[in-house]
Amino acid sequence: MTRPTTDQIWGWLDAVPDPEIPVISVVDLGIVRGVEWDGETLEVAVTPTYSGCPATTIIAFDIETALRDHGIDSIRIKTRIAPAWTTDWLTDKGRRKLETYGIAPPRAAGGPERCPHCKSEDVERISQFGSTPCKAQWRCTDCLEPFDYFKCI
């Protein structure tokens, strides 16, 4: 069997959904930091979003499963802590998908630009934390819908 190229593998990984926010892929999330062949072994470097994110082990497992489904048997998943993950690594495609899904994408200004539902810019914070470590709770003061905001770090 010819060895798949790393470009091909990046494409496959882009089809692996994030377990907590399945609308975006692990590549969209910016946590896959490297894909390299080391002889016959494929080494994938993954960085955690938050130190205690419980999805981290599931993500490694999902990546391994996807690669095995594509016929790669020898896989090494490495955790890479530095440089630390930042929401700057979210892809543009990922940001768009988040908003369509109802999660306001991160912004350096520290809060959402607009309500992901009705697009009103009149929004207020409910809590700095949310349903997963990477999100906070906000509310639209126009349509009154609460929504998740992807924290900017």
């Binding site: 938050y50 130190s51 205690g52 419980p54 440089p83 934390f129 470590p133």
Partner: protein, 251 residues
């Protein structure tokens, strides 16, 4: 084994482990849902940071132990956490006051550790400081809101500050381990962080309409393990009960 480095890493990991566990005790019983979630997320960050510190500690020790072994198989006297962090939660205000006192220190310490000559420590610190800054934003805001709230909430926050203040000094006491690592450029001398900590704390406590106690008496013995308060043993009895009852259990 580099004994000073191992000791330092235990201190880092034990601080986040003990505080993380304490904060997690609120899970399911916090005053409102949003705060319950916030406390649980804070605990999760702290326990995640513990994993990074104790993983490295276990490697430096080189005795075949894992981070889990260090967390679950040591007894009270082997813990190197600050006395402040093992103090019981008290009410919600007291929990947030404890968090604020520590967050302000933690951010300064991690900022200094980002410059560590030990690349592994610098990497962990750079990761952890982002979370610590977020915690500090929230604990500072909550302490101010509760202090400058009602007569009842102000009285409770003042009582919390009075109760916890004697545990503040221990954070800044440098011992031979600190001085050895500071001299090698691996860690900060904690006594050098006090002025910046005061500069964070005092304006916030003033905004919170709280009086800073004048007495600077400091309890100590947690960081060196010489004398923990009675609370830590009770906490570990709960935290370690499962791995103690079922060693090597897996699921």
């Amino acid at each position: 084994m580099d004994a000073a480095l191992f000791e330092f890493l235990l201190r880092q990991g034990d601080n986040t482990l003990v505080l993380g566990h304490r904060v997690s005790e609120w899970c399911g019983v916090a005053p409102v849902l949003e705060e319950d979630i916030a406390l649980a997320n804070t605990a999760l960050d702290l326990v995640g940071q513990t994993q990074m510190w104790l993983d490295y500690a276990a490697e430096v020790e080189g005795a075949g132990q894992s981070a889990d072994d260090l967390a679950y198989r040591r007894d009270v006297w082997d813990f190197r956490s600050l006395l402040l962090l093992e103090q019981p939660n008290g009410d919600f205000g007291q929990t947030l006051m404890r968090q604020f006192l520590f967050d302000a220190f933690n951010v300064l310490n991690l900022r200094a550790l980002e410059q560590s000559k030990d690349q592994r420590i610098a990497g962990i610190a750079a990761k952890a400081v982002k979370e610590a800054l977020y915690h500090l934003d929230r604990s500072r805001e909550t302490v101010v809101a509760l202090g400058d709230g009602t007569a009842e909430s102000n009285a409770r926050m003042q009582a919390a500050l009075n109760l916890l203040w004697p545990y503040v000094g221990e954070m800044f006491i440098a011992d031979p381990v600190d001085l050895d690592l500071a001299q090698k450029g691996i860690a900060a001398d904690p006594s050098t962080l006090r002025a910046a900590w005061d500069a964070t704390l005092r304006p916030a406590l003033t905004d919170a309409m709280l009086n800073i106690p004048e007495d600077d008496f400091a309890h100590k013995g947690g960081k060196t393990g010489a004398r923990h308060s009675e609370h830590l043993g009770h906490m570990l009895a709960v935290m370690q009960s499962l791995p103690r009852a079922y060693p090597d259990a897996r699921w």
